[in-house]
Structure formats: structure tokens, C-alpha cells
Subunit: 365 residues, 2 copies
């Protein structure tokens, strides 16, 4: 049995329950901006996947930012592309480059042969989840995650990151049948993968729809959101009597806020282009919101970091509504933290979010 | 004196006047997807700036897409970065790469020394405008353009394209005084530059705010939109008795549609993430809308290109409102056309837009 949670502010905010302050965590909080992470990585053969596939290393780096900062959640150290790797597409990370697949899906035969992976190939992930959860010993909740079906499909067809998504969109428009087949398989695989993370101990799960925002209106609903919704519908939402919140984050998804709020997720992630106050007014009674500081703010001096963090909190406003009920806000960046971020600026951010959000709550009383 | 216009559908749509069909032009319509363009470029020493700085070549390539397709406007062949080049930043285009500045703005001294350029350094642009206008002989209107103050600043500080805008955003957050100084100079320079294009014969002008969409809500209004508005306010809006429409296009600007509609522009460009019908309902009585097909649609077979083009026209709906007045729609892509586009797919697009938009108008009668 895992010990009870000492800090449940994050889960409470996700579920729109009262909180003492606004909880925060940071996308890629266990990452290259931390010297201790870089040291772990060197020990793991200077390889991202060397860290991710070894539960000891994954646990070590997952906990590093928590030892340094008063963050309110841990997130599994892994990559969004583990699932297609387990499907046999051959994931690798070149030096200083992004992910690359040795066997991208480029023709009808490759698409027809695609199958949801045997979860045994992802055992290292579930082992890491269980080990991290034990090591956390109830300090903060653990978030599991996956790429969304569409975002996985982008990488699976392009074979790497892209700046125009030409190959995947050509397939989408010219052969929608093939694209739907990939997305069907991905949705099945992602659902099983996240449920296995929940079984292993993940206390919330997040779907990264990192590339949903490159789709045209109409195409987004058919090729990204429909499959996100299918995953969300298939997830275990309770475990050991605790509700498992689901977070959906479509980068660039501002135009589809209402649709995302109706996706079945408990929390919708927002990037920094969105006015949090306006978003809350629109959907805050249905979902919690997560976001949305521009990570580039962290390059400014600490006093400006604090000022911009306060502006995000003020945009959302006091989470307790005039009618006494609570809306949910989880503070985060609108994108992963940059490897060039000065670590002491992150300390300033965490302090400002906690202090100012307590202050906002007191003012209302 | 220039001869009268034979096809004024584009200008009429920009000004929300009745049109016979929905006019279209394509961002980067004179470009590498056309074999005749590639041949011209070889003759110009295989150099983009070799084409752009020579009015004969610029005229030749500007007219090429019009000879092939029934497009409703020409756009000056040039680059959005001519103004900072004329400020002495040293623009070049590497083989297969994007633009690069030899002397980016990285410190206070460089920013303090920045001045709006002597327009004589941009004489080649105005000469091209005049020559293209003469060569068009009234076939269709000619659009002039510039990068927006913010978009120019991105390149001027980063020194090249960027995927995280770290340097320019660090300056924005850490030294907003320096950023405002750059934007002041850029706004003055862009206003003078576009007015000189109008004097030379441009019949509409477009501000490309290509990177406005990377800014956070709040920062966008202060660092992009405020300077766009300043440029728009300073433009000559009439020439030889004709109104000169102004188009503002912020890629990723969907979240700020209302603010953009209040920028003073006649036309707001929209990328493909935006539902045109919803945008029209929101701002269509104040501005015309330009957009918004995903250029990747052009990789699909011609019948699908036509179907997707019809979907865009249907999303906007019949431009004549129930009250008898007209809203304005200019069909375009939501981004520049890809160099890999099959030219015959563009023919299918032009035909579909003209045919279906006539059909929509007839149905209403």
C-alpha cells in the first residue's frame, strides 16, 4: 500500500475542489536545465532513452526537481513517443536533435500492418511509475502521460519533427482512410497504456496533443479531438477510491476551447496565447484549467518572473467564485521548460505562485 | 497614368462591396512551385535577393502566376525583411535555408544606434512596384507588403528564424525598454516604406505579422498589435481617388480576433485553425476576412482540393447578408504555398473557388 498523500493541492485543483493555494508543476520539470539531471544523464550513457528505460534512473530524475523546488506534482520521466516505439517504429534521439523513427509509416502496407503494442514492451514505463510512486512516499501526486493519438501519428508518418507537417497532412487529406486506421490503433494503444500507468500508480494522467494546433478547423475535430475523446472515455477514472483526473493539452488549441472542455477531461491545458480569465468565464464551470506562463518569461530577472506569474494568477482570479463554489487552476507553463532556464529563476516562480495565490485567497475573505 | 482596372473583385471584397464571385490570391503565389519561377531564379544567379532587387526580374516573376491561373490580385515579389536589411543588418539567404542577418541586435548599443532607413536604400522595391503596375496594365490590382514591426524585431534580434524565440522574448521580458525602442523605429520605418509602395502604385497593402502568434496574451497587445495599429494609422488610405485597403495577418492570431478587427485594417487575415463562419459572425460587419485554406490541402488530389475549397467558402457563407448588405471574403491560404505543391492542383483550387462562389451567390437569388 502506498502512504496517504501529504500534498493533494494539485488533485484538488484538477477536480475543482477548494485549495489553500494554486498548485504548480512544470512541463519537463525533470530536465536539462538542472545540473543534477545532466549528471544523471551522463551516468546513463548520455542518452535520454537510457534514463527513461531504466526505472532507477527514471525515478532519480523524476524526483530531482521536487528536492529543489516546492512543486505540487511529480510527472513520470518518459517521452510521448514510447508507444509507437513499442509498435516497432524504432525511436531514437540524435545528439542535440529531436526524436526520429527508423520505420515511419509511409504506405498502405505499413499502415495495414500497424498494431497496438504488447504492453510488455512498455513494462519499463509501468515499473518506473510504481517505483517513483513508492519513492515519492506520498509527498505529492504522480502524473502519468502519453502523446495523443494525433500527435503520435504526426511523428509516426513524418518520422521526425516537422515544420510543415506535409507528409502527415498529405495522408490526412489524400487518404483519410489510412489516417483513421492509424488513429484507431493509436487510440486503442494509448488507452491501454494510460490505464496500465494508472494500475501501476499514476494518480492523474495527461494527454499531450502537442501538434493538434497545426490542424485546420474541422480537421482538428475529426482527426485529433475525436480520438482524444475516445481515449478519455476508455480511461479508468477511479483507483483505490480516489478519482484519477485526466488533463488534455492541445498546444495552439485556443480556438477549440469549448470543444476541449467537452472532451470528457477534468482539466484543459492552455498555452500562453489564451486569456485565462476569458477562458475561465467560458468553460471554468465545467473543467479546471492548467497553464499558462510563456516559458521564455523564465529568462527575465527573478522579480519579473514573479510579476508575470502574478499576472497569470490575477488573470484567472480568485478560484472561489462569488457563489462560494470553486473553479480549478493548476499553474504551469504553456510549453516545456527550456534547457537554458536558470534554475534560480524557477525558484522565484514557485515562490511567487504559492505566495501570491495564498494572498489572492486571503483578500477574498 | 495607369489604365483602369479590368478586375476589381479583390478590392471590392476588401472593402465589403458586392462581388460577382469570391476573389483569391495565394501567399507566395510567385514561388518555387512554379517551373518558370525556378528558371527565372537560375537566370538571376540562383538567388532570391537577385530576383527581388532587380525590378525586371521582380516584375517577371510577379506576373508568372497570373499568366498561369485566373488569380484576382498580384503581390509584389519581395521579402518581409527588406526594411531591416536597409537598416544595415545585412540580410542573406543561405542555400535551402531561411533568412539570416549578419548583424543582429543583441545589446543596448546596437539598439540605440538603430535608425529608420533612408528609403533610397529601398528604391529597388518602389521601382519594382511601379514597373509591375505598368506591366499589369490593369489586369488585377497589385498588393504591396511589409513585415510587421514585431515580426521584423523577431528576426532582427534572433538573427534568423527561431523555434523558441528565446533571445527576442528574453529582451522583451528583461528589457522592455529596448524592445519598445526597436518597435518604435520599425513602426516608423514600415509606415514610410508602405506609403512609398502606395506612392509607387500599390493598390492595397498587407502587414505580415507572421510571429505575432508566438506572444503571450497581454504581450501580443503591447508588443505586436500596438505597433501594427500605429503603422495602420500612418498609412495613406486613398490614392488617385481610390481607397487603398489594408490587410493585417497575424499567424496564430485567432485568440485576438476582436482586437485585430479594431486595428484599423480593412481586412483581417486568418489561418486555418479559425472557423470562418464564427469569425464572420463576430467581426464580419467591421472588417473583411482573408483566408484560410491549409496549404497542405494542395497535396491532395484535385477533387479533394476542390472539396476543401468549397468547405472554406461554405464556412464563410454567402457574402450577401439577409439585410442586403455585403460582408467581405478574400480567399487565400492560411500560410504561404509550399514549394512542393503540384501546379495543376493550384489550377483546381482557382477553378473551384470561382465556380463555387458564383454558385453560392446564385443560390441566394
Amino acid at each position: 500500500m502506498n502512504p496517504p498523500l501529504q500534498n493533494d493541492q494539485f488533485l484538488r485543483a484538477c477536480l475543482r475542489q477548494p485549495t489553500d493555494y494554486t498548485p504548480l508543476w512544470l512541463m519537463r520539470q525533470a530536465g536539462r536545465y538542472l545540473p543534477e539531471y545532466r549528471a544523471s544523464r551522463v551516468r546513463a550513457g548520455n542518452s535520454f532513452m537510457g534514463l527513461a528505460t531504466n526505472p532507477d534512473f527514471a525515478t532519480e530524475v523524476t524526483l530531482q526537481p521536487l528536492d529543489r523546488y516546492a512543486l505540487d506534482a511529480a510527472i513520470l520521466f518518459s517521452d510521448i513517443l514510447t508507444v509507437p516505439d513499442a509498435m516497432g517504429l524504432g525511436l531514437s534521439f540524435g545528439a542535440g536533435e529531436g526524436p526520429r523513427f527508423a520505420h515511419p509509416l509511409r504506405d498502405e502496407a505499413a499502415v495495414a500492418a500497424l498494431r497496438a503494442p504488447d504492453l510488455e514492451h512498455l513494462r519499463y514505463v509501468f515499473d518506473a511509475v510504481a517505483q517513483i510512486r513508492r519513492s515519492l512516499a506520498g509527498r505529492v501526486p504522480l502524473i502519468g502521460f502519453s502523446g495523443s493519438p494525433w500527435t503520435l501519428a504526426c511523428y509516426m508518418v513524418e518520422g521526425a519533427g516537422s515544420d510543415d507537417y506535409r507528409l502527415v497532412k498529405t495522408m490526412l487529406y489524400a487518404r483519410p482512410d489510412l489516417m483513421h486506421r492509424i488513429l484507431d490503433v493509436n487510440a486503442e494503444a494509448v488507452t491501454a497504456y494510460l490505464n496500465a500507468q494508472i494500475d501501476a500508480g499514476a494518480q492523474a494522467v495527461m494527454l499531450f496533443d502537442s501538434w493538434g494546433g497545426v490542424l485546420a478547423d474541422g480537421a482538428f475535430q475529426r482527426f485529433s479531438l475525436a480520438y482524444t475523446r475516445r481515449v478519455v472515455e476508455g480511461l479508468k477514472r477511479e483507483r483505490d477510491g480516489a478519482r484519477i483526473p485526466v488533463i488534455v493539452f492541445t498546444k495552439g488549441g485556443g480556438p477549440w476551447l469549448d470543444a476541449l472542455a467537452a472532451s470528457g477531461a477534468d482539466v484543459v491545458g492552455l498555452d500562453w496565447t489564451v486569456d485565462l480569465g476569458a477562458a475561465r468565464a467560458r468553460v471554468g464551470s465545467r473543467v479546471a484549467l492548467q497553464g499558462n506562463l510563456d516559458p521564455n518569461v523564465l529568462f527575465a530577472p527573478p522579480e519579473i518572473v514573479a510579476q508575470e506569474a502574478r499576472a497569470v494568477l490575477d488573470a484567472f482570479g480568485p478560484p472561489q467564485r462569488a457563489d462560494g463554489g470553486w473553479d480549478g487552476h493548476v499553474f504551469n507553463l504553456g510549453h516545456g521548460i527550456s534547457q537554458h532556464t536558470p534554475p534560480d529563476h524557477v525558484a522565484a516562480l514557485v515562490e511567487a505562485v504559492h505566495d501570491h495565490s495564498r494572498h489572492i485567497r486571503q483578500k477574498r475573505k
